[in-house]
C-alpha cells in the first residue's frame, strides 16, 4: 500500500478514508483533523491556556502532543487513581512525556489527597468502579482548571469513545445525556469549558500516532474497565465497521449535524436549581455535590484501612 498523499510506502491504513499514509503524511492528517475539530466547534481561541487531562494512555498523550504541535499553550493534569499495578506505570508515562517535551504536569493523587482510591470509592458509594472514577475525574478536572487559571480543559475522547457513548445513549433513549453529548461543553458559574479535540480521530489513529511519534504509553487495559458496557458497545460498532468502513463516523457526525440540536433543550431546567456546594463550591442541585458525598463516605472508610501517613502512590 502506498501513501495517498506522497506515494511513499504506507505504514498505516485508515479504512474509513480508504487511504494509507506514510508517517509524515499521517502526522499531517492527525494535525489537520484536530485543527478542524477545534475550528468547527470553536473549542480553543488563540492564546488561551489549556489544561489537558492526561491518563498516560494513547489518547491523552496524543492529544497533548498534537495541541503542542499546533502551537497551543497546554499543560497536563494527571490524576493518580490508586489502581494497583496500573496507576503507577500510567503516571510514569505522563511524567516521561512531560519531561521529554519540557512541559508542565499538574498532579493530583486520589489516595493521598482525598483518602480513597477507585476501588474503595466504588465500594463505599455503591457505584460501579468506572462511575466512581468518572465522577472523581470530572470534579478534579473542573477544580484544577479553575484554580490553575486555565481557560479550558481538554480531554482525549476520540471518535470511537463518542460513537460508543452515543450508541449507549440511543439504546436507552437517554435524551438528557444526548443533549450533553457535544464536542464542546460551554463553561459556566463554577465549571470550565470542556473540549474534545480528538472527535475526528479514531482510537486506532491515536495509537498509531503515538507509535510513530515514539510516545510511550500505557498499553494495558485498566483492570477496572474489563467487561464494562462501553467496551461492549465498541465491539458491536467495530463489528459493523469491519463490514462497512465509515459507519462509526457517519453515526457520530450525523448525530452532531442532524439530531443534536433537536435534543439540546432537554435538561436545561436542571441548571436553574444549581447552587454552590457548601463543601467545595462546585455547582450542584443537591445539598452537597456528588463528589463531596463520595469523599464523605469513601474517604473515611479508606482511612480506617490505610493510614494516610503510609503513601500508597509515588506521586
Amino acid at each position: 500500500m502506498r501513501c495517498r498523499v506522497c506515494r511513499k510506502p504506507a505504514v498505516i491504513d485508515v479504512r474509513r478514508h480508504n487511504a494509507g499514509f506514510c508517517p509524515d503524511c499521517f502526522f499531517d492528517h492527525c494535525r489537520h483533523q484536530v485543527e478542524r475539530a477545534i475550528a468547527d466547534h470553536a473549542m480553543i481561541a488563540t492564546g488561551e491556556r489549556v489544561l489537558v487531562a492526561v491518563s498516560g494512555g494513547k489518547d491523552s498523550l496524543a492529544l497533548w502532543d498534537l495541541l503542542l504541535e499546533l502551537g497551543h499553550r497546554a499543560d497536563g493534569l494527571y490524576i493518580g487513581l490508586g489502581i494497583e499495578g496500573y496507576s503507577e506505570p500510567s503516571g510514569e508515562y505522563a511524567r516521561s512525556f512531560a519531561a521529554r517535551r519540557g512541559v508542565h504536569l499538574v498532579e493530583v493523587d486520589l489516595p493521598s489527597d482525598y483518602g480513597f482510591d477507585v476501588r474503595s470509592g466504588a465500594a463505599a458509594s455503591r457505584r460501579a468502579p468506572c462511575s466512581a472514577c468518572g465522577l472523581s475525574k470530572r470534579h478534579i478536572f473542573d477544580r484544577a482548571t479553575l484554580e490553575g487559571g486555565y481557560d479550558v480543559v481538554a480531554t482525549g475522547h476520540n471518535l470511537d469513545d463518542e460513537a460508543a457513548v452515543l450508541l449507549g445513549n440511543v439504546l436507552r433513549w437517554d435524551l438528557a445525556y444526548l443533549a450533553r453529548q457535544r464536542p464542546v461543553l460551554p463553561g459556566g458559574e463554577g465549571f470550565p469549558r470542556k473540549v474534545k479535540p480528538l472527535v475526528r480521530l479514531g482510537e486506532r489513529e491515536t495509537a498509531a500516532y503515538c507509535v510513530l511519534r515514539g510516545i510511550d504509553y500505557q498499553v494495558e487495559e485498566c483492570p477496572m474497565a474489563v467487561g464494562n458496557k462501553h467496551l461492549g458497545y465498541k465491539d458491536a460498532l467495530n463489528a459493523i465497521e469491519e463490514r462497512s468502513p465509515g459507519t462509526k463516523a457517519t453515526f457520530y457526525v450525523g448525530f452532531l449535524e442532524r439530531a443534536s440540536e433537536l435534543v439540546a433543550h432537554v435538561g436545561e431546567h436542571e441548571r436553574e436549581g444549581l447552587h454552590p456546594c457548601p463543601g467545595c463550591g462546585a455547582p450542584t442541585t443537591a445539598p452537597s455535590c456528588a463528589f463531596c458525598r463520595l469523599v464523605a463516605r469513601a474517604g473515611d472508610q479508606r482511612r480506617q484501612r490505610i493510614p494516610l501517613d503510609q503513601p500508597v502512590s509515588a506521586s
Binding site: D160, D161, E203, V211, V219, E220, C222, A225, H230, D235
Partner: protein, 69 residues
C-alpha cells in the same frame, strides 16, 4: 528461523504461528478485528495488506480502551 513469534496483550503472552503469513490472515487466525488492533512487525507499523516474513517478531497491539477517555 521457524515461524513468526507473536506478542499479544491483555494479558501479555506469546504465540508462534507458521510463516510467512499475511496480516489479515494472522488476525483472522487469532480472532482479532483489524479495527481493534495495530500490527507492529520488528518494531515497524505495517498496513493490513502486508505479509509477515518467517523469523519476524510481531506485536498485535490492542487499541480499544474501556474508559470513555
Amino acid at each position: 528461523m521457524g515461524g513468526v513469534k507473536v506478542l499479544l496483550r491483555n494479558p501479555k503472552r506469546e504465540v508462534d504461528v507458521p510463516g510467512p503469513v499475511a496480516v489479515v490472515a494472522l488476525l483472522d487466525q487469532l480472532g482479532y478485528r483489524r479495527e481493534g488492533v495495530l500490527v507492529i512487525v520488528d518494531g515497524t507499523l505495517v498496513t493490513g495488506d502486508a505479509t509477515i516474513a518467517e523469523g519476524s517478531t510481531v506485536e498485535v497491539r490492542p487499541v480499544v480502551s474501556g474508559g470513555a477517555g
